[in-house]
Symmetry: C2
Subunit: 427 residues, 2 copies
């Protein structure tokens, strides 16, 4: 049943079978969406009590007596810093607690680098002739969009099962125009890969030609495990310090997929020098972020252990979906030689690699059948998947039933576009 070893006639027969299946699907007039990496309603419902954890005036004071309703405190209330410091396994002095969006913090970080430089002594990136960022692929489209918006050129770095190919990264950072790299180190978007200890150590020990080089470490899924047994990730801040590169990394995370995506709390962690430098500029950008929402989160979750326990509720909702996606892929595609994937242990996505040159066609066939997927190419800089093979599956938002239908359609379309492709060169 391996498509790649089929004769032309066998492929033609298979195509006929698949076309019939596809036509039946068309007649179902489906309307399903597997494109959105966002929690579903039941996940949001878990956090109901966070709404009322501050319900009277007297609840609005922080441990040290600060009235969180009023102005002040640029980098967040102490107990919020402590909570996130514990989650990220760093010290409170390394933490800046912000608004509701870590993407906003990342964008603003790069804006600061463009306008002010990476430190008081450094030159603004806008004065450089060229700025290049390394982009492990497949990766997160919004990271790439930030670079594109800011005119930062992007260079692809292939992902391995241990993270970005470090041989290539080590080679590329010898170029003095290379100013940084995007990383989603745990349960990566979209593959679900967690960087190995060796990858983290090599990343932290990079000797880039540009002293401006910064690692944008988007640890979005730091506590987003699907199973009790967690996949460990080395602490990049510790490793950078050990390697003599204390200022080389900025870490980001948020409670967007812990409490509420639209009303969570985002955080940034870095060396004390980087945090101090950031504050020296942000001091003129804002008086401070929403301290009541920080306090809500601290009072609701208690501590890092509380967050960890709480995440099991999300996992219980997400796990059956991820397992269904992977089981369907295994059942429908594993023996056909036209697709590969990794079974994620956490995060929000499953990454499907289809036969080279068929991702766009597959997504388009799905769309015509009423199943919306993330656009093919979205997981690559400039939206260009050079091999046209990666498709990002987002299982979190639809119901299990809808997901089952959508996956059935995706598998038929993957097979059909593979057969079409193979027929092009079949003799």
């Amino acid at each position: 049943m391996n498509y790649t070893s089929m004769s032309k006639q066998e492929l033609l027969n298979e195509k006929q079978v698949l076309c019939e299946l596809y036509n039946n699907i068309l007649s179902e007039k489906l309307s399903l969406d597997m494109s959105r990496g966002k929690p579903e309603k039941r996940q949001l419902d878990i956090s109901e009590k966070i709404l009322t954890v501050l319900s009277e005036n007297k609840d609005c004071f922080s441990e040290n007596g600060t009235d969180c309703r009023n102005y002040g405190i640029l980098d967040g209330i102490d107990e919020a810093k402590k909570l996130f410091a514990d989650i990220l396994d760093v010290s409170s002095e390394n933490v800046f607690v912000g608004g509701n969006s870590s993407l906003n913090m990342m964008f603003d970080t790069l804006m600061r680098f463009m306008v002010f430089g990476v430190s008081k002594e450094a030159k603004p990136w806008s004065e450089n002739k060229k700025n290049i960022f390394l982009c492990p692929v497949p990766g997160y489209d919004r990271h790439f969009a930030v670079c594109e918006t800011l005119g930062i050129e992007m260079v692809n770095v292939p992902m391995t099962k241990e993270g970005p190919d470090m041989d290539i990264v080590e080679e590329l950072v010898k170029n003095p125009d290379v100013r940084g790299i995007w990383c989603v180190p745990k349960y990566s978007n979209p593959e679900g890969v967690t960087y190995s200890d060796e990858t983290v150590k090599r990343m932290a020990a990079l000797k880039p030609a540009s002293s401006d080089f910064r690692i944008m470490w988007d640890n979005a899924y730091c506590v987003h495990h699907l199973y009790d047994e967690e996949t460990p990730l080395l602490n990049i801040i510790d490793e950078c310090e050990k390697a003599g590169n204390p200022d080389m990394v900025y870490v980001y995370t948020s409670t967007s997929k812990i409490s509420f995506p639209g009303a969570g709390v985002a955080v940034m962690a870095s060396s004390k020098a980087n945090i101090d430098y950031t504050k020296s500029i942000m001091n003129f950008q804002t008086i401070g972020y929403d301290k009541l929402n920080m306090l809500r989160h601290v009072k609701y979750f208690g501590d890092a252990k509380g967050v960890k326990e709480y995440m099991k509720k999300h996992a219980d909702i997400l796990r059956p979906k991820f397992e269904m996606v992977v089981e369907t892929l295994e059942k429908e595609l594993s023996d056909k030689g036209i697709a590969s994937w990794i079974k994620p242990q956490g995060g929000y996505f499953v990454s499907l690699n289809v036969l080279e040159g068929t991702a766009k066609r597959t997504v388009s066939l799905c769309k015509d059948a009423g199943v919306v997927l993330t656009g093919a190419g979205a997981t690559f800089p400039y939206g260009k998947d050079p091999e046209d093979r990666n498709i990002r599956i987002a299982p979190s938002f639809p119901t299990v039933e809808d997901l089952k239908s959508a996956m059935r359609v995706l598998c038929v379309c993957t097979r059909l576009s593979a057969v079409e492709k193979l027929l092009e060169s079949a003799k």
Copy 2:
């Protein structure tokens, strides 16, 4: 009792009296703060019910069914846009609802101008040799700090009782390096001046040499009246459109001094073209701001009329403080020829002009006596008051009792430093 017509001996006698008064104050070992333009606890307590207006999962949906807990909607939920549109007397399509800080929106606006320019066609300001902003003085220190941070040169424009001196503004905008002007058009910070109709019309009809010229219209105190009879302000967005300058102005306000300074909702209004351009960039900065907090505000206040009614509660707390400040100034300083002030009809400050060359000394004498005031010079670009005469009084935060003590000290220090100054040149 006019100090300026006193003989040397009269001044020496007066000095002796004042020194005794000052020494008595020193022995009181006061610790008072009149520097902070923030609401006091009773004002924050008014809004207690906003904490629980969303208390169950089912409360978290907007009118059109959007789950405000989840991702999405860059420019704010419809009903929040409507609320702010009504407050600012513009259309919803002119409104972008943001996070908790209008200062943050202003900073980000100028950052966008620096990195991307004022429109798709325009050149980034960072590529200009020089960027100049006009700064009506006295004004808001944080506006000036934004310019200084971004390397935008500042030029003072004197305030009149009708707003910035428009003869001077009209002259200065002929300089093609002049890119904008800061305005607090209603109950201005710190003088409490509301721009006259003529000022607004002339501002809207400016013909600046630079097509990049933008008016930063910080309408922070748009509903912050102290009395039932409001001081009207012409609608700058309408006037700019009438004058053929629809894209020349950005308007800002927030609920920081309506609900909670640390956890309010900020908003920006401008032409549809400007809002669309802003969104085209911000689309890569964030997925959206805290929609739950927007919804809280809409559900709590209902509509613009609700906000207006609600502001009377703030006025009832603030009015006695402002009146006490002005009455004390009148009683202690009105006949001495060494100070002037305007009685504000709204806003958060009273601006005191002392004898030229004595503001720093006055603030310093107050500090030594345990009364903290905003630093002399803070109301001018670069912290430099060329005449060393303006002092900003912030009556909102202290209790009436504390304010009374602080004002007593301020008046003695104002008189003492004036006498010292006059003695320098007395014969």
